[in-house]
């Protein structure tokens, strides 16, 4: 028995094929995971079977939802099924709730208008739905008063209110940290129950592992591999799937610790930083050795990026000291940003920007060898930041920073917007640079596995009690108190 079957779905943009024929079946009680990187066509596939492709894209194929048989080439006919047969969990739940309407009302209206309950019944159903999700108090709140996790649960209640049996979740863990990610996975599974259908589109390997069920791996619009999630993830047949799995920071081999000699590049002692009257952290102390990788990790909002900024002197500490090694010049500390596009002047060719830096530092001769070392094509220099991929741009940021011959590079979530394989490559390069150039790397990431497998020493930062830093660290970190 199955209630969502899609047969030979294709998506075209004019003459170009974006998604090659793909068929899938969702069976009750078993999630189906579509796994792929950016540009793999996984979201297009979801949009094609929902009838929500952007204008200009053409889909073909047959979609059977419950008792309905539809053609993907006629997206208008899907509209009547939304909410009643299939419901969609949006990528960004916070942005998907009407900012000017109370959370409870956004659930109630679906009960009333879609399911056709009376106003009083709809209200009662909405509050019992929200109550089951532990959101009784949130019903009166506006979306901006909800946390990300609460918004996600309100969105789930609102999406399910119409009574649809099939749920499509598009990147449900985008922008969430590890703990929250597991909550979402468990919630999706319990919502599905034994009789519901669940289709999950994601690039998140940890989410896929937790969901189980069946899996389809996509790459550049083609199916690479299908099978039970557990089988695919433990014994992948295709090389691409294996590369994708190997790129998961959880499965990285740990980087060999760097040699530690000479005085530290920077020595942080008793550091406290406050933002908007709230203390982010206090009493933090550590030092970073030349050529070493020092990692800071923690959940979002714990102040780990601010700590890096304080080390660079971009944020004034409330207390404590940051001491640079005496011989380091004013420009000896450089930074890599989470969004590399925002780190370059938007309207200037990358080559011009790099030349400006090279002329100022007198390092023009290094540009070409560094391009080669970082695996970058010189033709990229003709382009503007918006026209280069995130991975290439992040490597160009590294190149730009190296033209200053920095003593330390603060890498602030440098790969959180990159696909797993690209992420592994960029992080690998940072490790190499620490080794070959003797530059210290201060690596900040929400991904504990990534930091654990890359850094010589790790400082876990959190709002509550912080665990002791690893005792075997080559560099010594003192626990904040």
């Amino acid at each position: 028995m199955s209630f969502l079957t899609a047969t030979d779905i294709t998506v075209r943009d004019g003459a170009q094929t974006l998604l090659e024929p793909l068929s899938l079946t969702v069976t009750p009680g078993e999630p189906l995971i579509i796994l792929g990187e950016t540009g793999s066509g996984k979201s297009l596939m979801a949009q094609a079977i929902m009838g929500t492709l952007p204008a200009g894209l053409r889909a073909q194929g047959e979609v059977r939802i419950g008792a309905h048989t539809l053609s993907a080439s006629e997206p208008r006919r899907f509209r009547g099924l939304w909410g009643r047969e299939i419901s969609v969990l949006p990528q960004e739940p916070w942005l998907s709730l009407d900012p000017l309407m109370r959370a409870g009302t956004q659930v109630t209206e679906a009960h009333r208008l879609v399911r056709g309950l009376s106003a009083a019944d709809a209200k009662a159903r909405a509050s019992s739905d929200l109550g089951q999700l532990g959101l009784t108090a949130a019903a009166r709140h506006y979306p901006h008063q909800l946390s990300g996790g609460m918004a996600q649960r309100v969105a789930i209640a609102a999406a399910r209110a119409g009574g649809a049996g099939i749920v499509i979740a598009d990147e449900p863990t985008k922008g969430l940290d590890a703990a929250r990610r597991d909550d979402v996975a468990d919630l999706l599974l319990s919502e599905m129950g034994d009789n519901g259908g669940l289709l999950v589109i994601t690039h998140d390997l940890a989410l896929a592992r937790r969901m189980g069920g069946q899996m389809i791996v996509l790459r550049q619009g083609k199916v690479v591999e299908t099978g039970a999630t557990e089988t695919v993830m433990s014994a992948a047949r295709e090389a691409y799937t294996r590369a994708l799995l190997a790129a998961d920071p959880e499965s990285w081999t740990r980087r060999a610790p760097s040699r530690r000699d000479g005085p530290p590049v920077v020595d942080v002692h008793g550091l406290s930083v406050a933002r908007g009257g709230r203390e982010l952290f206090s009493g933090v102390g550590f030092d970073v050795a030349a050529g070493g990788v020092f990692g800071i990790t923690g959940p979002s909002g714990c102040g780990k990026s601010t700590l890096g900024d304080a080390v660079l002197g971009l944020v004034a500490p409330a207390a404590g000291t940051v001491t640079r090694r005496a011989d380091i010049g004013p420009h000896g500390f450089q930074k890599l940003y989470q969004d590399p596009v925002a780190a370059f002047p938007r309207k200037r060719r990358l080559g011009e920007t790099l030349n400006d830096v090279a002329r100022m530092t007198g390092e023009s001769a290094r540009v070409a060898p560094l391009l080669e070392q970082l695996g970058l094509s010189p033709t990229l220099l003709e382009r503007r930041p918006g026209a280069v991929s995130g991975g290439e741009l992040q490597r160009l940021s590294i190149l730009r920073a190296l033209l200053r011959r920095p003593a330390l590079i603060f890498a602030d979530e440098p790969t959180s917007r990159l696909d797993p394989i690209t992420q592994a490559r960029v992080i690998g390069m940072l490790g190499e640079i620490a080794m070959t150039e003797g530059t210290a790397i201060l690596l900040v990431s929400h991904d504990a596995a990534l930091v654990r497998n890359t850094a010589d020493a790790v400082l876990p930062l959190g709002k509550t009690v912080l665990p002791e830093p690893q005792p075997d660290a080559a560099s010594v970190a003192t626990a904040p108190h």
Partner: protein, 271 residues
């Protein structure tokens, strides 16, 4: 309207912009070259020819005092656009400098300038222009000063908002870390972002200024007769609409063409 609430949308077709530019160039060409090809005096009267139709030396006929409408129109098309241009250049320079200063320095400089700009926003521009006109001898000077006082606010607010946004962006932080100084940051980061806004605002500003001069002329409180000015010409010719429709239509059409050209050139930004 507030710059933070810019209703950005895909830039209107460049076709519209180039159409706008061609309209402006066309009007300017007529005003500049016209009197060279057909010499004539915009002030010379010959009452015998009052309200008579076009002829070779007066292609648009004569007005109620027997003056060549064509030559009055060409003179009018030189007058208010030049005042408008002068006012926009003054206001643009002031707004650019003060806006950059406000964004870069913050603190009390920013507070004082922003409070002043906010207060000026509450005053109808025409009112300010009228008050200045009443104080300053010389109507053209009065318009220049008055319009500059009105127009700088928009330049200031745009510059300040855009500059603030750029200055807190990672790209500027990175540039500072690398050791670049303020002039480089302004040239490569700030200016490329605000230049298109400046152009748009300037085109709107010129249109606003031309409209203001013509509107006040039309209600007899702007330029005084016998100065050839667009609004004044129209109000003078209105009573003779039946006898000499062309005489009234030509300044009306020229004004519309010029303003439409400037609006199209400015692109789609609502203020």
């Amino acid at each position: 309207m507030s710059t933070a609430e810019l209703y950005t949308q895909p830039a209107r077709l460049p076709v519209a912009r180039s159409l706008g530019a061609s309209l402006v160039i066309l009007v300017a060409a007529v005003a500049l070259i016209g009197p060279l090809l057909i010499p004539g005096d915009p002030l010379a009267q010959s009452l015998l020819k009052a309200l008579s139709g076009p002829e070779a030396t007066a292609p648009l006929g004569y007005d109620h005092l027997g003056r060549s409408v064509f030559h009055r129109l060409c003179a009018a098309l030189m007058l208010s656009p030049l005042i408008a241009l002068a006012a926009v250049l003054t206001a643009g320079a002031a707004g650019l400098i003060l806006g950059t200063l406000s964004a870069a320095m913050g603190g009390w400089v920013d507070t004082v300038l922003t409070t002043l700009a906010d207060a000026l926003l509450a005053l109808p521009g025409l009112l300010l222009v009228l008050i200045v006109l009443a104080m300053v001898p010389g109507t053209a000077t009065g318009f220049w000063i008055g319009l500059s006082l009105v127009l700088w606010v928009e330049f200031y607010r745009l510059t300040r908002a855009a500059t603030r946004e750029v200055l807190v962006s990672p790209s500027v932080e990175a540039a500072r870390l690398l050791g670049f100084r303020a002039p480089y940051i302004f040239r490569t980061h700030v200016w490329p972002e605000i230049a298109p806004l400046m152009l748009t605002t300037a085109a709107f500003g010129i249109a606003t200024a031309i409209m203001a001069i013509a509107a006040l002329g039309f209600v007899h409180v702007g330029m005084r007769a016998p100065t050839p000015e667009l609004g004044l010409m129209m109000v003078e010719l209105l009573p003779y609409w039946r006898e000499a429709p062309l005489a009234l239509l030509s300044p009306a059409i020229a004004t519309f063409a010029l303003l439409l050209g400037l609006t199209l050139l400015a692109g789609s930004r609502e203020t």
